[in-house]
């Protein structure tokens, strides 16, 4: 209790106490309650689902088992795959477009302020507005599909938001194996990088884990079959339209981040590189891009958690019932408030939280660590 003797600390503590309590109740208690709900059978018995005082039974991880291996929960598994592809393409697209725009604006063209505002503007809209505008443009007989007729080409026929076509199909049963291969490859990459940087301890740990993982993948992992039959999941082409709209909205934001980063690079560095005879390409590749790496990381984290949680954009663009563009958050809403399967909905919510945590927690960890170091 020594720290209480310092009056400033005491006052400081008292000032933040209310928000600590509120945060504790309205965030952490509710997270815990949702997690607990996901371990019960709330919703399976219609007589208890909406009773004033529902009697819930504890059933352990049964809801999770159902979601990942149940016959009728194929839709949930597809939403996970959808969220995965959406996240990848959305982040890649936003980063590339944002970086491109930032590099163009960095050369201080005429009207830079005007264009900067234009590019940043979509970010000020809500996803609902973006979704509504893009829904109109992507109608099967409107907007984008009519564009080719302006230059005399035949009208486009692609069903932007409702196409049922799927590419890159993978059986759900192969996913544990493939995941192990990918993670193993990343670990090997880390190991090689560490050897080069002569961080031997780190390199050996990475090599060891990679070897263990790959050994597991090729022996036991091959036999791990969540489903008794092959169930194909792939990238729904209907997501292309959603990805376009999302990139349109968020690339201005990454542009602003990158632009700030580019402006933060001292002119002396560029000049020094030029004096050393670096071409433009080498300047970007060897000097500027490495300096932008921390910005790329922050942008990826921010975009990543937006894309995993995405709900409003798709709700406005395609509706909650359009299965080809379903994502976990939408399915959670339908499962909970339409089908009254509260426990199953809570399980989907918990899985979403875990996915976002995978993205956020390492970032927070590294941020906190570097702050302490400072």
């Amino acid at each position: 209790m020594r720290w209480l003797k310092n009056r400033d600390t005491l006052y400081g503590f008292l000032v933040i106490l209310p928000s600590l309590v509120l945060l504790g109740i309205f965030v952490y208690v509710f997270i815990f309650q949702t997690f607990y709900t996901s371990l019960t059978d709330w919703g399976r018995d219609p007589a208890q689902a909406l009773a004033l005082d529902p009697q819930l039974r504890f059933i352990g991880l049964d809801n999770y088992r159902e979601l990942f291996t149940g016959f009728v929960d194929v839709r949930f598994r597809q939403t996970l795959v959808n969220a995965f592809f959406f996240t990848i393409f959305f982040i890649l697209g936003s980063l590339l477009v944002g970086l491109g725009l930032a590099m163009v604006l960095d050369r201080s063209p005429r009207g830079e302020g005007f264009f900067r505002t234009i590019f940043l503007f979509p970010m000020s809209l809500s996803f609902i507005v973006t979704g509504t505008i893009w829904r109109w443009m992507l109608q099967p007989e409107g907007g984008v599909n009519r564009l080719p007729t302006l230059v005399g080409l035949p009208e486009g026929e692609f069903a932007w938001l409702t196409s049922r076509e799927q590419i890159w199909q993978v059986s759900w049963n192969d996913l544990p194996f493939i995941t192990a291969l990918v993670v193993g490859a990343i670990l090997i990459f880390i190991a090689i990088a560490a050897f080069r940087g002569s961080e031997n301890r780190r390199a050996w740990i990475a090599t060891g884990s990679a070897a263990l993982l790959l050994l597991w993948a090729f022996t036991l992992g091959r036999n791990l079959q969540p489903l008794p039959y092959d169930e194909m999941h792939g990238f729904n082409l209907a997501f292309i339209g959603i990805i376009l709209a999302a990139i349109w909205q968020m690339s201005g934001y990454t542009m602003a981040l990158y632009l700030a980063g580019l402006r933060g690079i001292p002119e002396e560095l560029r000049e020094a590189a030029r004096v050393d005879g670096a071409s433009d390409w080498q300047l970007y590749r060897r000097v500027i891009l490495p300096l932008l790496a921390p910005i790329t990381l922050s942008a990826m984290i921010i975009l990543g958690h937006i894309s995993l949680k995405i709900f409003d954009l798709i709700f406005a663009m395609a509706g909650a019932d359009n299965a080809p563009t379903d994502v976990p958050a939408l399915l959670m809403f339908i499962t909970t408030f339409r089908a009254n399967q509260f426990a199953e909905g809570a399980a989907i919510g918990t899985i979403l939280l875990l996915l976002v945590a995978i993205v956020i927690v390492p970032y927070l960890y590294s941020q906190l660590k570097s702050e302490v170091r400072r």
């Binding site: 219609p46 909406l50 009728v72 194929v74 509706g319 809403f333 089908a339 009254n340």
Partner: protein, 412 residues
């Protein structure tokens, strides 16, 4: 401060003096086109009970998709509205009645002499263990096929009476260059088509057996429904998933399709919005294979347990069930009264024909519109449709439907 207390005392005395004062909160999803119809009912209520302040709480969203979610959070939070709109049948019973949240309205029905005013089939549908739990306000018919008579004459085809005939007509029209003879819209309209196909293929008795658990979804007869459904889909436009039901009706009116299967709110759309005369601008027939059967859905109001203004809510229900209430509401809503003694003079040609059928036909309930299956089944039926559409595999769809039926204890 003294003024405040005086006002408080006055208010307290006032509420004692007038038994029928206070408030009444009505919760519904009638906001858009149906707004005026609800408004007319509320005005009628205000005439009869001038001292009651009516709060009209609406949550927009077709078929109450959003309203029902809001209602659930309110009910779970212990704040029930005085009376709420709900689809008559299982949407009410398997969600609210089995959870013991609704008051038994059987005494109201006997007291008002309504037992003989509503058809038996309808009363069965809104009852649970012999007690009645909601007052049906209107009736819509789900199994109707719409077309433009002059165009059919031009093409030289008759409205088909069975699904086999329908497929023949479809091929004839496709041969004449009409790419998609059936106009279809987004997800739920496809489920809507499915229930008409199921009724046509199975017949009324077996269709009813699906919902009481006597006929299983993986039975060969039901698999045949999916097969027929697949062939019918081949007659439909491929951009269906992006169209609303109004768009689909428009395609028929524009001559880009010959038929559309939709509930009879389509008649309201065509008469009110499109200003067409029933019978001339558009024609109708029972969907193929369902002549003599009336697949109904109905909006009804119930009385939740523990409401704040119970007496006012009961008066509201009394008005809804009365002949005057129903004949005020329904011509504006474009539906027919649930009572069999409505005044035909107040309804248009389509609705008059629907009223005749309502009195004479066999009555079955709609799946998509909450009459025959619990919400848990109804909302997961979209997944079943998805499983069918992704691979056109009838057996897989049947198995999935049965799995869900077992999971939600359908018909038990």
């Amino acid at each position: 401060m003294r003024k405040f207390f005086l006002a408080l005392v006055a208010a307290a005395l006032g509420s004692l003096a007038l038994a029928q004062s206070g408030r009444l909160e009505i919760f519904s999803w009638w906001a858009g086109d149906e707004g005026p119809a609800l408004e007319a009912l509320i005005n009628l209520y205000k005439q009869r009970h001038p001292n009651v302040t009516v709060e009209n709480a609406t949550v927009t969203g077709g078929a109450g998709v959003n309203a029902r979610a809001v209602l659930k959070t309110r009910m779970l939070g212990g704040d029930p509205p005085d009376s709420f709109q709900i689809h008559a049948g299982q949407a009410l019973i398997s969600t609210w009645v089995v959870a013991d949240r609704m008051e038994d309205l059987t005494p109201l029905f006997t007291q008002e002499g309504w037992m003989n005013r509503f058809p038996r089939g309808l009363l069965d549908m809104i009852s649970y263990r012999g007690r009645i739990y909601s007052v049906p306000v209107n009736i819509h018919r789900s199994n109707v096929m719409w077309f433009v008579p002059s165009r059919l004459r031009e093409w030289g085809v008759q409205p088909p009476r069975t699904w086999a005939e329908f497929l023949t007509v479809c091929r004839t029209l496709q041969g004449r260059g009409l790419e998609a003879p059936l106009a279809l819209g987004e997800n739920w309209t496809q489920q809507h088509l499915w229930e008409s196909v199921a009724l046509g293929v199975l017949g009324a008795a077996d269709y009813a057996n699906l919902w009481n658990g006597r006929l299983r979804f993986n039975d060969p007869k039901v698999i045949e429904v999916w097969n027929t459904f697949g062939r019918v889909l081949d007659c439909a436009n491929r951009d269906a998933a992006g169209l609303s039901w109004q768009h689909a009706v428009d395609r028929v009116l524009e001559g880009r399709a010959a038929f559309n299967i939709m509930g009879d709110w389509a008649a309201g759309y065509m008469t009110t919005t499109k200003r067409l005369r029933p019978g001339e601008g558009f024609g109708w027939a029972p969907s193929p294979g369902t002549a003599g059967v009336f697949m109904m859905l109905s909006d009804s109001f119930g009385l939740p347990k523990g409401v704040k203004n119970r007496a006012n809510a009961v008066n509201w229900l009394r008005l809804l069930g009365s002949r005057e209430g129903q004949d005020t509401f329904n011509p504006l809503k474009g539906s027919i009264p649930a009572r069999t003694d409505g005044d035909p003079a107040r309804y248009n040609a389509y609705l008059q024909s629907a009223m005749r059928d309502w009195r004479t036909n066999r009555i079955v309930g709609s799946l998509v519109h909450g009459a025959v299956a619990p919400e848990a089944f109804q909302s997961q039926f979209g997944t079943v449709l998805e499983i069918f559409l992704s691979a056109r595999n009838a057996q897989a769809a049947g198995n999935a439907a049965q799995a869900i039926a077992t999971q939600v204890r359908l018909g038990q």
